[in-house]
Symmetry: D2
Subunit: 445 residues, 4 copies
């Protein structure tokens, strides 16, 4: 692509970058060729020593220059053809005659995509799992840490930070499941999807190849049936969106005026060049940027499903970098969120202070509910609403307005009001939900 | 939205339109409220006759005017609030006090989304299944119908129309599986996801509600964990892309110069106002347009995953029409493709004529393979390539060039050449792949 | 499409809905046919009374049923063909023979798109202008209203609400310019873009048609050169994004913990069904949701540019609703933001309180700058940063830490420190920038 | 990013890659710092020799390691901060104290983006212009080269290849205009957009900086008013879509069965590893793939417009690579299309043969028009349509069916029919449109 190191090193952890690097692609293509020769030998189509010679030559990706392969690829539209040529030159003896036998360039590229995806996905999945573990810890630890629940960015009702973290946890588990569940398959169809040059041995070779590479064996070649690739893109976007939600929550909770969370600090992390007091939510910012990039790549993959006949003229070729990018940036988001949730500083005092900032208004529903027992839900809603408005306008506390209201105080004593205004007493199923989330987490370990 | 009837009736079959209509949404919201009251009664929170009164009032969606609900919704940002108000007015007796108990507007909308999605998905799925059945029929019938396989829109090697249809079949099965596999869950969290106003009874009501509506029970409320909705969007885009691939193939195979397929005709279908000779691939055109619209909607759903705190300010509200649109247009594409594959006219004579149009060049690989047995793959490739170029340049047949080549003819007899040039003899695993596809199809019925 | 009234009335103001309604489309198609007949008469191709008869029949859109046109359109793939047929039946006398002369269905649809776009754009533009006017008022009024500037959602340095509003203003002017600047052209090319059936009179008719409809005359037919439509989509997305930025700022500034702005209230606006104390930023929420929908539609339009030959098989047909939707939802966002900025409640006291919340830390840069005069920028940055950290950790005021620091206080007196800690004295070019924005606004009125 | 060389060298020409490379970004950032110091010196804020020292240190981008800058950037979220630090270290003498004075990281990145965009855009524009020149040549040369016009991929009416090329030409001119017209502006706002640390000198420095870098001076800082960047993305997508349309046409016209165009060959270009007879439309394939990638990047830029307060937490950071990618891949598409249209092989004989393939049916409209003079348009349409259907069904020529039809032949003589069936006589305004396109092209040179 374009700038690889400046922005690559900024947004992506090294293992993820390595997993989708030029070298990784070349290595994956070579693994295909080596495995194909082994499969062909097992099927009796080529001599065993030819397969060995091919596998030997394919074992050293370093001898193939990605830039040079890319240049040569311009004439034919994909990098597999020049790699096959270079590999053939590198194979010693008779084996050279048997390189790439029966395969077409798309077989190489598609299978390599799956291998690259498998390796990169494993890294992403590990970060998703670690982030989930951290969220499980937060959920458990903060079951009783009350904070304002917020809807449309307005305080709504009390909740717990434990429940918030439990929501993150379940979302991460779901996203990880979806990503891990996308099947990865081998591709082998030959020039037009019939494996014609293998005569009747095609399915045998296909099966051996799938087994050798530990990839699924498809019912038919999928040169232009791109659900596999698009589904992977979709699962990555789902993971990206899940991570972005957590990062967005952190940026909001870390706002100066909210201050309920702070990202891990240390070594200039989150510092500003000119504003020494700042502690920027840098990890979350990187995660959000990464997730946005994932969606851009996924949109390319989803749009690329309509591919012509037996091989597409453009849509297929657009997939390679899109898939690599989607994997990489999901990895970038996962690593950043993992770091954030593993080190996040939780500030129960600020949560409590914010809860109290509305002078009890946040518990209006609780008061309504209590009053509703006596006067009906609608009537209670009206009375409490009016008291809330009066409190806001007069700058008085909600409690005082409630107690001063003749109608309300005829049904609720000061004690009743205080009970209703206690946030810790109005958490409903928060703890039960945390428990359900943790149960689900524990079950799968 | 905007134009509903002019374009709606053009792109969408009536059942799909009905499934995502205003009325369907209102009905789904009412089903939520009815089921909630029943669940609350079962949990002992409200009297059974209150639940009955609510369910009775909710049984008639026709009494609620969608336009009016929409207008009232502008003040609060969602249509659930005015509907609850209207429903409350419609409930007779004491039941009115118990409408919507414990729930928040998002509970209504999210659960309604799932109900709308379930009904619409069933229609889409039926069309996907019917299209798959038609493709299975085509695959079986045309196992031996040879046609040019085409890569980058150039003839590459012979294949069979059976294999093409088998590819469509497997893709449709995969897409249908993904769509059917997306879990649909009930939503019930109350104002901030804690079900606070239900005290400790929240989980009980949640379970009863899920059971009543036959939707999954989530571990925790998913007000801002939107994987469910986004995944549905992704699965619809995968189905849309799969359908678009088939439609694209049909438009290409139906080109005047190719003529291998024609869409079903009849009653002015595919006619042009000014060009009486045309038979436009109208069904495929509609399917392609629909699939493109699906992707637009899905992009909204994927981008909407990052939702703030306990309820989002904008991203959530953008989902409703996007989900409805994605369902509807996938349905439009599925119905159109179903109609096309059920009635498609296959023209084996044109397939054969096109195969012959290159004077045997399409079988160059077969000749290469045969020659390769004698001189090695690389050398054979060179010799055959040179003959192919000479044939093209001189306007001679490929066969003549091959036989006139001293080197080639020293290894291959005229009979050998003719055998290599027989497309029916160079189909490799085409039939085996068809069989594998049909097997997969049969297994799942 | 799908649900038109429930969500349409929620998100879209009536004039915008009307401008992209079924009726608007039918009317625009009829305007094309009427204008074509007038142009043809002027070019001497049809009798003047035929043109009159056609124009008369086309003057009443109400006689054509959009739903029925849509149904008939399924057979041919676009609604122009059935409309032409219905119009022809409605024309009295000989005029019927001359309906639609020389034109193709795409001429009707494309020109109608432009007419619909022109009318809808005018409505959107008026709302953008009104929103700009309101922002100009806010910028002027609040030149001296200091508030925290925030970067990465952290307080950074003081700014003024006037400058914030000036930024909105300039952005709205830019977005309005872009939208207004997109050229709208007539389409007339006939069945294959040659106007063949008009012989040599094609360009004459084209010119007359453009003049009659007051649309640009293109150099060549643009049946498959879709920059016009895609550019309109892009300009709508730019406007949508601009509006969304304002709405996002409002939701953030209206947060319970920030409270610097509140959306206009009144008549239950922004109320919550269960939480009487809330004042939700409903207008901003609707605007954000609308802007997200615009992007979905625009993505369809941008992806639809690659159209085959002289008329596309699917990409063109996907444009109609996408364009209508993009216009409508931009209109929805513009109307919502206009309402918000026209009625927004600004709370200078909360702005000031938030400025003070960090105990002066927000002015660390000002102290650094002052100190830098004495010890150099780097050294100053270090010293001030250390003091800021000590203040945060010790819970002391920043001022005290600064004065207690021997090194700092050897260069800066208490007076110097106080001057540096005065936010109103550290606004740089804020007022000058406000003036520049207002100047630009005034110039264009 | 990810794979930079393998796919970079495949899809992108070297100048474009260089223009968006790591080095280009570092160089652009350094140009900002150098120009800022010069502007500050002119404004009297820093000594002239300090500016010289800074400019000298900034003149050698090679001394700054992009990878290392990227790594350091992870702690702060953008690469400007570490670059400023490194630059400061590199400046000799007192100048070091004055590096980056008054600016914030976003000022560096945004201005660098504009500089990168300017350089890359110039390369893209040159390729667009060259492609337009080639299309102008084709349009002129092939004014009289008749070919089938095709709608919905069906032959519709005759057109000329000249008109097709003229359509490409006008589209390229439009796309180039849009791209060139996007204003590029300097960014300078300081930490919160007020240029506070420059006191009252901010606007002066801003003006000098704009002048020094030859970029527009904005009315106000645009840290979170992203229309500039998004508009650039949109213009690139418009250019990409325009190029993709041409490439799509070429792939379709180069189909084996159509054969009206062939991409330039030579040196293995378009060859297939296994199919020696193929001449793949490789340039068009690359262009299509590139255009699809552009749209992915543009979608990120459009979605990134909603940025919080004075600096965004994630949306801004997602722009950098998206902008670089959009520039690069538009460049890739432009270079590929340029190469294609400059060397395309046009085959008038195949065009003519394809025109004749329907036995005259493609001129049914011409016959209808001729007959319409006698019997009215509707009646003529019916009669000719029936003859067309009979011809198709009976496998007879259209001409014979027309002459055998008693009603038709009572109005049209054999000579009339032959005149109507002559494609060269039914081209309407094709030549006039070519002339209009060429005129527009000539005017702007």
């Amino acid at each position: 692509m374009t700038s690889s190191h400046l922005f690559g090193a900024l947004f992506l952890p090294d293992p993820v970058r390595a997993a989708v690097s030029d070298r990784a692609w070349v290595e994956a293509m070579l693994r295909f060729e080596a495995a194909l020769s082994i499969a062909s030998a097992r099927a009796g189509l080529i001599p065993a020593d030819a397969a060995e010679a091919i596998a030997a030559a394919a074992a050293d990706p370093g001898r193939f220059d990605p830039e040079e392969l890319g240049r040569q690829a311009r004439a034919v539209g994909n990098p597999a053809a020049p790699l096959v040529k270079a590999l053939t030159s590198a194979v010693e003896g008779e084996g050279a005659r048997h390189v790439h036998r029966g395969a077409t360039s798309q077989d190489v590229m598609d299978t390599a995509s799956m291998l690259v995806a498998r390796d990169a996905r494993a890294i992403v999945k590990a970060d998703l799992d670690a982030a989930a573990a951290a969220c499980a810890g937060l959920a458990d630890e903060h079951r009783a840490t009350i904070m304002p629940g917020r809807t449309l960015l307005q305080q709504a009702l009390p909740t717990t930070f434990g429940l918030r973290a439990a929501g993150w946890l379940v979302a991460l588990l779901d996203a990880g499941d979806r990503l891990a569940g996308v099947p990865l398959a081998v591709e082998l169809g030959g020039a037009a999807g019939t494996l014609a040059s293998l005569g009747s041995d095609g399915p045998r070779v296909l099966a051996e190849l799938a087994s050798e590479l530990e990839l699924e064996e498809p019912a038919v070649p999928w040169h232009t049936a791109r659900l596999r690739v698009a589904e992977l893109g979709a699962a990555l976007a789902l993971a990206g969106g899940t991570l972005e939600k957590i990062a967005l929550d952190v940026t909001l909770l870390a706002q100066t005026e909210v201050g309920e969370l702070a990202e891990p600090g240390g070594e200039g992390r989150g510092g500003s060049s000119t504003l020494p007091h700042k502690r920027n939510p840098v990890g979350s910012v990187l995660a959000i940027a990464c997730a946005r990039r994932v969606r851009g790549e996924t949109s390319i993959l989803l749009a690329a499903m309509a591919q012509e006949h037996e091989r597409a003229a453009g849509a297929w070729q657009a997939e390679w970098e899109a898939l690599g990018g989607a994997l990489a940036y999901t990895g970038g988001a996962a690593a950043a969120v993992r770091e954030v949730v593993e080190g996040v500083e939780v500030r129960p005092d600020r949560m409590r202070a914010n809860l109290d900032a509305t002078g009890g208004l946040i518990l209006a529903e609780a008061v309504s509910t209590a009053l509703g027992e006596h006067v009906g839900r609608g009537e209670a809603h009206e009375l409490v609403g009016a008291a809330a408005r009066r409190a806001t306008e007069a700058g008085r506390t909600f409690r005082d307005e409630l107690l001063d209201d003749a109608e309300i105080s005829s049904h609720l004593s000061a004690e009743d009001v205080d009970r209703a205004l206690d946030p810790a007493a109005y958490l409903g199923a928060a703890d039960a939900f945390v428990e359900r989330a943790l149960e689900r987490y524990r079950e799968r370990r």
